[in-house]
């Protein structure tokens, strides 16, 4: 996609008080995500809109249907999607120290074997890119990262684990992430970070915002 083409947007109602605006195509698009963020910023100004929450190339809008007619909102979303996207201040670059492998990175060996790579090669590929925080959500302070090396793309586990620990550095499909709290997840665990992503008493409670950038730094590789 070039910067001046506008991806098509599918708008569907999520019950009476929310809608999903989905522009996801076959591959994740940074330009599309910029447009999603811009749409979210604009919709937050609309009376009756309670929250605009970016997902991955999609956006959920929560609103009060007794104040803002769902059909009118749908029209507003479709119209504002086409408005030009102005530049956005570049986010912060944050380094995330990771201990790869070992008991806190229990999938590293099997993941490497499945990819026909050594654990060192997997770590090299995982630490090479600067990732973008595309979206925050799903769990308190969870970040969806774009920029994963396609060679590390891996379908999620068939059976999710019931408790993946806080700090787990994980990969699922073509996305990378970090567990902010201990919770169920079907993603693969490559390592562990001591960096805290979420503190409800901090302001803001989530360490990262959409648009921030992350670099993983290998502290050690355990076998």
């Amino acid at each position: 996609m070039t910067s001046d083409s506008i991806p098509s947007l599918t708008i569907s109602m999520e019950g009476a008080g929310a809608l999903l605006a989905d522009a996801a195509g076959p591959v994740f698009s940074d330009a599309c995500q910029q447009r999603i963020w811009a749409l979210a910023d604009r919709l937050r100004e609309e009376p009756g809109v309670e929250e605009a929450v970016p997902g991955m190339n999609n956006l959920m809008v929560v609103f009060d249907p007794l104040r803002l007619d769902p059909a009118s909102l749908e029209a507003i979303v479709a119209r504002r999607w086409k408005e030009p996207v102005t530049g956005r201040a570049e986010g912060r670059l944050i380094e995330v120290p990771v201990s790869y492998g070992g008991s806190a990175g229990e999938d590293l060996l099997a993941f490497s074997a499945a990819k026909d790579l050594t654990p060192e090669e997997v770590v090299a590929r995982h630490t090479a890119p600067i990732y973008g925080v595309a979206a925050v959500g799903a769990m308190p302070g969870f970040v969806y990262l774009s920029g994963l090396d396609p060679a590390l793309s891996m379908p999620r586990r068939a059976q999710p684990r019931m408790a993946v620990p806080k700090g787990a550095v994980i990969v699922g499909g073509s996305q990378a992430g970090i567990m902010p709290v201990t919770a169920p997840s079907g993603w693969h665990i490559l390592g562990h970070t001591a960096l805290s992503l979420f503190d409800p008493l901090a302001e803001p409670p989530a360490a990262f915002r959409p648009g921030d950038r992350i670099r993983f730094v290998a502290r050690e590789i355990l076998r």
Partner: protein, 323 residues
């Protein structure tokens, strides 16, 4: 001003009307699953509707009052006892310092609300006192209550004993429970026949039914329209590119067992949704026991908005009755 938990029951948490506005950092709504019952309990004891109270599941706690108070139990038919003497639900009760509140066995419903004059005075976290156990935040130390916990209670003037909410102002699920839903979202991903079948089947509440979501079993698996999986979505036809999940949305992993996401659900993920249960009926889901039969009933947007208005009027009538 405080209460002491002698025994906590099965899973008792501090809740209020919830913590909206934080989906963007991954925090769900939390708050009472049956909001109408929670509002009514607070109104009965003279509290603001949004005061924090206790949500009780299936089995009641045993609580000692360390000061005089007004108490009311609403929601499920879980009869309260004061010093062993059975009392009415949906009615304000006067308790004295040293009195013990306990409960008889559950007769109907799933969740009861215990309001205490003054409200449970735990710290406000991100705008709410509701417990969100996954995030270990809000409520009493971010967790369900345990024996020996002493909970602070705010100052409240209380209300007269014997105030009650008339039966016609209460709502409880029918048999089977009829859950009104708006099809949408990824409804187009299932075949027309599968969509019809989904609405015709009688489902049963599965044992996995909690504040995160209610799973339903017993209907036929959904047949999908073939597709090319988009980025990040798994190969399973029920996987989607990760999107936000609102409260009430009906997700169907692998197309087999629908899960209606409730107050503590994760705010997003990669499973497709066929629509959403309307907010007026989310209260009813909070009162369903496992193995209860339930049906999904399709409504139009217009009907969903009328239902929302009806519920707002019902709350108004309770307010007026207790004013």
């Amino acid at each position: 001003m405080s209460i002491r938990i002698i025994s906590p029951g099965l899973s008792t948490t501090v809740q209020d009307l919830g913590r909206p506005g934080y989906y963007h950092i991954g925090i769900p709504l939390s708050g009472a699953m049956d909001r109408l019952a929670a509002r009514a309990a607070n109104l009965l004891v003279g509290n603001p509707e949004e005061a924090a109270l206790l949500e009780v599941v299936f089995m009641g706690p045993e609580i000692e009052f360390l000061q005089d108070a007004t108490v009311a139990v609403t929601g499920a038919e879980l009869p309260p006892k004061v010093n062993g003497e059975e009392k009415a639900t949906w009615t304000s009760l006067a308790v004295k310092k040293g009195d013990v509140l306990s409960f008889a066995f559950l007769k109907k419903g799933a969740r009861a609300y215990i309001a205490i004059s003054g409200g449970i005075d735990v710290p406000v976290v991100l705008g709410s006192r509701s417990t969100y156990t996954l995030g270990a935040l809000g409520g009493f130390e971010g967790r369900k209550l345990a024996s020996g916990d002493v909970l602070p209670v705010g100052a409240g003037r209380g209300a007269a004993e014997g105030r009650t909410v008339a039966g016609e102002l209460r709502r409880s699920p029918g048999a089977p429970a009829e859950l009104r839903m708006l099809p949408g979202l990824y409804w187009h991903r299932i075949t027309e026949a599968a969509g019809r079948q989904f609405l015709e089947d009688t489902w049963k509440v599965a044992p996995e039914a909690d504040r995160i979501g209610y799973r339903f079993k017993g209907g036929k698996p959904l047949e999908f329209v073939p597709r090319e999986p988009p980025f990040g979505a798994g190969s399973d036809p029920s996987n989607i590119v990760d999107a936000c999940y609102p409260y009430g949305s009906i997700q169907v992993p692998s197309g087999t067992e629908p899960i209606v996401l409730h107050r503590d659900a994760v705010s997003g993920g990669g499973y497709f949704m066929v629509g959403a249960v309307i907010s007026a009926d989310m209260d009813l889901i909070g009162q369903l026991q496992p193995h209860t039969p339930a049906r999904f009933v399709e409504v139009t947007m217009e009907q969903a908005l009328l239902a929302r208005n009806d519920r707002a009027r019902l709350i108004d009538r309770i307010r007026q009755a207790l004013a």
